[in-house]
């Protein structure tokens, strides 16, 4: 029998949304990071990881380039740069 249509947990990781980025991507400078965790907290894609000062970075496979992490960083330690 086909159905019911059931999805395995967290299988959306098969769907890479990185190609959605057209103009900008974040650049984690890793200089003045105070490990406030805000970039990780606000990311709508849940694609930022890190644990401790200057360890945070984004996953280019999923980042859509919204720029929220850069906007929220209190130390301006994340920049939005031209997608290369």
């Amino acid at each position: 029998m086909f159905g019911p249509l059931v999805c395995k947990p967290q299988s959306s990781r098969n769907n890479k949304t990185g190609p959605w980025r057209t103009e900008l991507r974040p650049k984690y400078l890793k200089k003045d990071c105070i490990a406030c965790n805000m970039c990780l907290i606000v990311c709508p894609e849940a694609c930022i990881s890190g644990n401790g000062k200057n360890t945070y970075d984004f996953d280019p496979d999923f980042c859509k380039g919204c720029g929220l992490c850069a906007a929220v960083c209190p130390k301006k330690d994340i920049e939005m740069v031209k997608e290369g």
């Binding site: 999805c7 959306s12 990781r13 694609c47 859509k64 919204c66 720029g67 929220l68 906007a71 939005m80």
Partner: protein
């Protein structure tokens, strides 16, 4: 990848306030949670077969029935003797909550089910293309409350959903905002620690429908709170138990960042009406604190 119960790969728009808030909510609630989700953006962008972003048992049935489906889930786990182990969350957008789903929600609240209901309030029917809902603010330009030569947008103020929920005599009601993520998570944790029906309404900016830059989601959500347009309140057993105090900013600061209010910027009379709504909230809920010298 961070450890989360709402994972990457969903198809929400860049900068989506709802996808941010939904992750904060489920991560605060934890893995022993079952979610019933109304139809809407969140359901569509997170569960496109054969993939799902959710790491908890999750079910979608229809647009208006998550509260009733959750009532069945809660009754089933009670029957199974697991009522104390498992949290049940029903969640929906503003239209699914305040309009088409209001009856089912009211029934769920009145019957006393041990369920947390979360309304993600992005102030219009975004999934269908930005149509006006009962939670669309006054003077908003939407596709069904358009601005025209004889109209400055939506005719009515927001339906007072938190008060309506509170009027059911439930133990906990709160408003929250994507602009204050830790506060949101604290409220979710508090809610699930209380037995009975709980209602949390989260203000979630929608870059597409509100027409703002994707990197402004946080800032706009914060400004809604700081102007007094979206008061952050907690009710416990019917009485306001906490409020986020603000040093009020003028509403233009909030309005000017969003395309949906662009038509108001040259219209001081209409802005005054919106300022009155904010001032009224500030007075009604006692939000104002003076700056310390």
């Amino acid at each position: 990848m961070s450890k989360t119960l709402f994972n990457s790969g969903h198809t929400a728009c860049a900068g989506c306030g709802q996808s941010m808030a939904a992750r904060l909510v489920i991560d605060a609630a934890g893995p022993n949670t079952i979610v019933a989700n109304n139809t809407g953006c969140l359901e569509v962008f997170s569960t496109k077969y054969p993939e799902t972003s959710w790491g908890i048992p999750w079910i979608h049935s229809l647009f208006e029935n998550a509260a009733a489906v959750a009532s069945g889930i809660e009754s089933a786990i009670k029957y199974l003797g697991k009522g104390d182990e498992i949290n049940v969350i029903a969640q929906a957008g503003d239209g699914g909550t305040a309009d088409i789903g209001l009856q089912a929600l009211s029934g769920m609240l009145e019957r006393g089910h041990n369920i947390l209901y979360v309304c993600y309030d992005n102030e219009a029917y975004m999934n269908t293309g930005v149509q006006r809902s009962g939670l669309t603010p006054f003077d908003t330009n939407t596709t069904t409350s358009p601005v025209g030569s004889v109209s400055s947008g939506n005719l009515r103020p927001k339906k007072p959903m938190p008060e309506i929920a509170n009027a059911h005599g439930i133990p906990y009601v709160a408003t929250a905002s994507a602009g204050f993520p830790q506060d949101l998570q604290r409220k979710v944790k508090k809610a699930i620690s209380i037995k009975g029906p709980k209602y949390i309404q989260v203000h979630v900016p929608c870059p597409l429908g509100w027409r703002h830059e994707t990197n402004l989601t946080m800032q706009i959500a914060k400004l809604a709170v700081e102007t007094g347009l979206y008061p952050l309140i907690e009710y416990e057993n019917g009485i306001i138990s906490a409020r986020r105090s603000i040093t009020p900013k003028p509403v233009e600061e909030y309005l000017k960042l969003q395309g949906r209010f662009k038509h108001l910027l040259q219209d001081p009379e209409e802005i005054k009406k919106i300022q009155d709504i904010a001032d009224n909230n500030i007075k009604k809920y006692g939000l104002k604190v003076e700056l310390q010298q």
